[in-house]
């Protein structure tokens, strides 16, 4: 049973569009939610992360929105570019073991020129 559920599985947008990737969790012990970006042939790399004491975090064109009551969080990419084409993973770790991370199933994003 996947601890973090991610959707959609794939996403195609035009350059300049705003792709949105959604994740949901059930374990209320989770309290750290990073997003990872993976380019083909590479390992994932940390993109941005949020803790549930804030509802939004922005770094450049990437924004995480967090809804604690719904146990959902999402990644928005503003003004998307072809270079953003990659696979994105949400993840979660918890207070009881903050070094153990659970990942979503991934979203393959294709930004068309």
């Amino acid at each position: 049973q996947q601890q973090v559920k991610q959707s959609p599985q794939s996403l195609i947008v035009q350059k300049g569009g705003i792709p949105i990737i959604n994740c949901a969790y059930e374990n209320t012990a989770f309290d750290y939610f990073p997003w990872y970006q993976q380019f083909p042939g590479k390992g994932p790399a940390l993109l941005i992360a949020i803790r549930p004491d804030v509802s939004e975090k922005k770094e450049g064109r990437f924004t995480i929105s967090f809804n604690k009551s719904a146990k959902q969080f999402s990644l928005h990419i503003m003004d998307s570019q072809p270079g953003d084409s990659a696979t994105y993973f949400c993840a979660a770790s918890g207070r009881n073991n903050f070094n153990k991370f659970y990942f979503g199933s991934g979203t393959k994003l294709n930004v068309k020129p």
Partner: protein
């Protein structure tokens, strides 16, 4: 990739043979992980280690064993490989401060090892 080396990077083997994947780090981090990546499943934790000789199971540990006899090396062994273990395997280290409140725990991944079991 932040001082993480995985070997081999590619391996083709036959069902029933033993396979060992090696992860080597140069930065003396305490936590090391093995994940497998499969389409539709994302990254799933196999085993992780929190120190020399200290390991614990992840979500998909059946059929895998690990060992960590030195801080810098974390080995993943498939005692008798099966076709369902065909996957890309990633080693990772936790490069955060370990401070729960700072939220600074970051997983840094190696480049991956692609294993095909025929």
């Amino acid at each position: 990739d932040a001082g993480i080396t995985q070997s081999p990077r590619h391996k083709v083997t036959e069902t029933g043979t033993p396979v060992t994947l090696r992860c080597h780090q140069t930065e003396n981090h305490r936590y090391m992980y093995w994940y497998r990546q499969d389409p539709g499943h994302g990254l799933r934790l196999i085993h992780y280690s929190y120190g020399v000789k200290d390991t614990d199971k992840g979500e998909v540990s059946d059929g895998y064993s690990v060992s960590r006899s030195k801080t810098e090396d974390f080995l993943l062994t498939l005692e008798s490989a099966t076709s369902s273990q065909t996957s890309v395997y990633f080693c990772a280290i936790s490069t955060g401060t370990g401070d729960f409140l700072s939220g600074a725990n970051v997983l840094t991944f190696g480049a991956g090892s692609r294993l095909t079991v025929l």
